[in-house]
Subunit: 210 residues, 4 copies
DNA sequence: TATGAATGAGCGTTCATTCAT
DNA sequence: GATGAATGAACGCTCATTCAT
């Protein structure tokens, strides 16, 4: 969760208080998001992190490994949050709304990670791409399960597959990284509320057909 | 509109009946979508297109130029289609629905272009990124204008900004390239219909709040 | 003798009244002098001359051939002028002085040619380098003969070989292209007069030893 | 001061006792002098030096950088020697004569550097050309100051600007690289003595006019 | 733990020249 | 005479990774 204040700083000195692996992860996230994975050389990376190449290769087996570590961090964070909302008490409509707002809010707070996530997945080794997709699918399924819960309760429309609704919603969320700016008019929570409003309105049973 | 049948073929021989620039464009679209822009070398590209490097540089000033040509082609095609729906007769709700279905259908028919569009925009030179973003913005604004038209007629809810609705919808559309497979269960039109249903249901005035 | 007015103009349009070969020669002289032979591409050359590549290769067998043509033009011009002074009437001291002034003046009027001459000789094919050196040697020998004539008359010192004196003088002349500017304080004739003064003073018999 | 014996050897094995950067510098000086800067490929260079391309780019940022390093080495060496003569005791005429002989001797001992110096200056980046010209100018001014010292003492003629005399002399010196051969009749010191004789004779006050 | 010199395969691009028309 | 598409070899340079210390 580097850059939690939402500011993009190009020449930020690395936080020397962080341990070497964390410093690398934090700097890599910023640089990969700014210039892209393939345009960021290991040399740039270690220079920006204030460590040597040797040190980097001591903690990460490859540049790819560093990228994978970024993926893992964001995947586990998102899954953890979603589990919180899914397992909470209360009507499924409310829990879904909260989860929907939260995923926008969290995405906006970690825009660099999201930008990397969708732009650089194909740069990961085949094995790791598979692993990431698998975790991602589990995340989607957890979300879908909430919709299906609502559908079986008659709270959500059933004429559109839950899968489609999830995919549509996450598509919009992922796309945030291409247009959202922290210094724009809307906060992450405001965007999340709008998004969730549209999403849940779309799911209302009586809304079918149009 | 290469790949109109939706099949991904890795070792397809280039269509020798096409002129050299078109052949390059077609092959580049396939390879950039399959392996990514930076993982596709100019050498691979020209070998797959059955031309020499010299020939490629005779028609395109750089690899970047080839990428930009792909962007131009897809941008102009999309804008042309949208203009058709926007300028048609009939209630705005119907025109918006048709445009919303069509953009999904067209995206699914040109999944390679879309995959490249969002994955490789950051690989374009700064000038060209700006040019692409500008054209893209115009496209969004054309779509937004239809929503605003409906809002002023009382057909669509006004408590969510039209901008947010557009962004959310196109986010979902762009995301298609990360999960849609032509050989899956749903056709492009089916997905488009579901997407448009959810989208328009979300916009209905009485749907507000939830 | 392009650029006879001494002005350096980077974007001069080619003189369309000149025949194609002359136009190429004139443009090539300017571009080779400005950017160097190897930094000037055939494409640039023909574009600047307003002809096509095919036309160029119709008149010159290669880029090297174009360079050689420049060498021949300047060599024959210099030799012709020197012959004029050498064959004239009057004391050898006067004829040598006039030739010495003239070679500076002519060099200054054709600075582009001189710049190319010494900078790009090694870019010529081996055969042509030999040919150029041979012609150049003949030129030197013609000049040296005048000095030897003066030495045998007792007009010039004999304790320094005529060869050394010639080489020293032409070294200085060639070097003009690295420092002389047409818009500086001195005209070509002024520089020539100073050079000839120093040169002839150095050759006076009583000047020996110092 | 590579090549101190004055022999040109095309296939000399690199001196493996030298450190990698020195080996590259030494080999580059020989190759650039033999074939010219642009005709010498980095591949040839590193093969001749017995290192890999990667190693070369570890020490030099570019081929241009290697060329610049050669310029720096020769510039600093020349300036150092001139300063020695200029700052010495004794009549200015003697000091100037010694400096004039020495610059010939040194040039002859480092003919490769001199050949590169004047042939390839235009291949250097604009910034570096400026830097080299500036250092060169300082060198000239140091030399000129000695002549002006003699002029103000009445030892040298004043009817020819000191600047002209310096330029003429160095022109001749630089030109050595186009004709002097170590295996010819004259040693560097002999040529230097002749050159200095002519030069100083030309500067004698009573020699004016002729 | 950490260094940084060295590797070597591969990159995008240039360019003088050819040749069917 | 003149065209310009096409060639193909070579170019300068980058870079993730290794390894002796």
């Amino acid at each position: 969760m580097q850059n939690t204040d939402g500011l993009q700083r190009s020449e930020t000195a690395p936080d020397r208080s962080l341990a070497v692996p964390d410093r690398l992860l934090s700097v890599a996230t910023r640089l990969f998001a700014e210039h892209g994975f393939e345009r960021t050389s290991v040399q740039e990376l270690v220079a920006a992190a204030g460590v040597t190449k040797g040190a980097m290769y001591h903690y990460f087996t490859s540049k790819d490994d560093l990228l994978y570590a970024i993926y893992q961090r964001v995947l586990s964070m998102q899954m953890q949050r979603l589990n919180g909302f899914a397992a909470a008490e209360g009507p499924v409509r409310d829990r879904l709304r909260e989860a929907a707002v939260d995923v926008v809010h969290t995405t906006v707070d970690n825009l660099d990670d999201t930008r990397i996530f969708f732009r650089s997945l194909h740069m990961l080794s085949a094995d790791r791409q598979t692993a990431v997709r698998k975790e991602r699918r589990q995340y989607h399924e957890r979300f879908r399960a909430m919709i299906e819960e609502g559908q079986s309760q008659g709270v959500f429309r059933t004429d559109v597959p839950a899968d489609i609704a999830v995919t549509q919603y996450f598509g919009a969320v992922h796309h945030l990284s291409t247009w959202y700016h922290a210094d724009g008019e809307l906060t992450g929570t405001q965007v999340g509320t709008y998004f969730a409003d549209l999403f849940l309105a779309g799911l209302r049973p009586e809304a079918a057909a149009g």
